[in-house]
Subunit: 371 residues, 2 copies
Amino acid sequence: MSGKIKYELLKKEGRARLGKLITNYGVCDTPMFMPVGTQATVKTLSPEELKDMNCGVILANTYHLWLRPGEDVVSHAGGLHKFMNYDGPILTDSGGFQVFSLAKNKKKDIIEEGVRFKSHLDGTNLLLTPEKSIEIQNKLDSDIAMSFDECIPYPSTYDYTKRSTERTLRWAERGKKVHNNPNQSLFGIVQGGEYEDLRKFSAEETVKMDFDGYSIGGTSVGETKDTMYKMIDYAVKYLPEDKPRYLMGVGDPIDLLEGVARGIDMFDCVLPTRLARHGNVFTRHGRINIRNAKYKEDFTPIEDCDCYCCKHYTKAYVRHLIVANETFGARLLSIHNIRFLVRLMEEIRESIKDGKFIEYKEEFIKQYESK
Amino acid sequence: MSGKIKYELLKKEGRARLGKLITNYGVCDTPMFMPVGTQATVKTLSPEELKDMNCGVILANTYHLWLRPGEDVVSHAGGLHKFMNYDGPILTDSGGFQVFSLAKNKKKDIIEEGVRFKSHLDGTNLLLTPEKSIEIQNKLDSDIAMSFDECIPYPSTYDYTKRSTERTLRWAERGKKVHNNPNQSLFGIVQGGEYEDLRKFSAEETVKMDFDGYSIGGTSVGETKDTMYKMIDYAVKYLPEDKPRYLMGVGDPIDLLEGVARGIDMFDCVLPTRLARHGNVFTRHGRINIRNAKYKEDFTPIEDCDCYCCKHYTKAYVRHLIVANETFGARLLSIHNIRFLVRLMEEIRESIKDGKFIEYKEEFIKQYESK
């Protein structure tokens, strides 16, 4: 097929949604977790490994690719899929989050036009606008593009949050106007901080613009989990049932379960790959650090898991690789950690299908927190 | 099978030898190139990738594994093959070369007993002896172990070289006495520096001890290529035809051809993987650096090559990964560079079979130096 994505809602249990996302690069079951390939590569991994793990959509970062190698290089390569040899669906973020978190010295100047800041690579003065973000994403030719928004710091005053949320709406409108890639879908982002009425306002106004999907933004910037869940609750009820909902930057297993319980369909996070590089490992009984001396002669796999790492390697070997700073260790743990989240989502989908999501969620959390 | 390796000489063209090495983990055609898995991992790569590249024997470093994770951990895991999940043949070096090159502050004290030095990791005082080296290798359970030797610095005086060469012979004898792994073969190492009579002496005395194979040592420590070729010439004529000959630490394509022309069967080197991490790439027309700006929009593969990198990725993408410090770039170039050398050896074997090695060698060198 070609054209925009389609979302089909198959079943609900409470607010949890079982569905599918039909894209130009295959059909993905939702809810789903999407690994992050910041610089057009999911760190250490090959596209084939991602496929083997049953990954659907992967992310790439507009900000990073804009700076390096440049959107024109990717475009001349035939788009991101060809450039990075990934024939599954790709989502690009707007670059906004990176501008706010990576700008040199964290200094940036938010103006109506966009955001002025200095490159984290070489200090060059840059201006990212809603139009520019969409133009870059059009050229990257991802399957799903995101509107340019301000990720509001937490905490922020009501007044600041209101002004920022209104500006994000104007930015969304401006971006939508210049979007011109017929095979790329465009998502709107709901802001509004921690304020119920602003979340409602942002959600309703964003939905009026009729995007192909909706993201709930600003939920993963340092607040407590309860605040995050509240932010989702405030926004999600105003989102249409027939469009996918995406919670950005969230990858903790418990948060995935809580997000699904609140009606979220898509999640992404660098967590599984970043943790892996530091030897941190997801297990059914909580997170462990493989560097721990107790694994030195532990010749069993990390756990009962179907990933390449657990099928072929012991904790002792992975520990050795991580302690010795060998990349293959990060690669093996990236595989395990991503597969852990992808498998969690598979089980979540199965449980919704069987009408047993609430039980599954409680059981999983009980075990995960039993360490 | 179990027990020692066997070598079969199939055909000669001049001094170049076509043969096979029969090991407990499969039959390898020679001459062959062996990639280096220093810390029980060929940097960035999986065992499956090595198999796909048609790698035969791989190396692991006794010194590194002695310090980390310790030979007992590997032994308790069931040996190196099980520990690292590699079911092809493995060769371990003696640790000598690393002691000489990696000892903290390069300080070491060579005594009759062995070598005293400080760990490059934490400065601990260590003593590596011929007996200890063999004991570690016995526990690592590699298929081929190497005798502990002194890799003589270049240049060295005749007197120093003579004394060192004699000591290396005594060390070889001591190591052989304690070697007690019936499934592990043991190679002797010919030293003698740049001195013809000392090479002859070392070769004859080493051969008298009746090892399972012979290595020509000290040829890759900074001398000119002509000196290296001379050192090989001096030694190789005293080695028996029915045992494999191994040139340590050599991986430059021209050197492989010159080594084969002089009767060498086995080569190893960190060069392909080390070059890869710096963006340096072997091609039929010489080495290139993929960071070069001219590859920014070069959407063709590195060259006409059957490796995973060349089959799926462009220079522009690999350049982007290397410039952006993405591990997947080092992984792709490691695959290409190793496959380049393995394929070179495949072609060399084919040419010897056809009685056309000299032509092949000249043709290859002409093209390689035509850049």
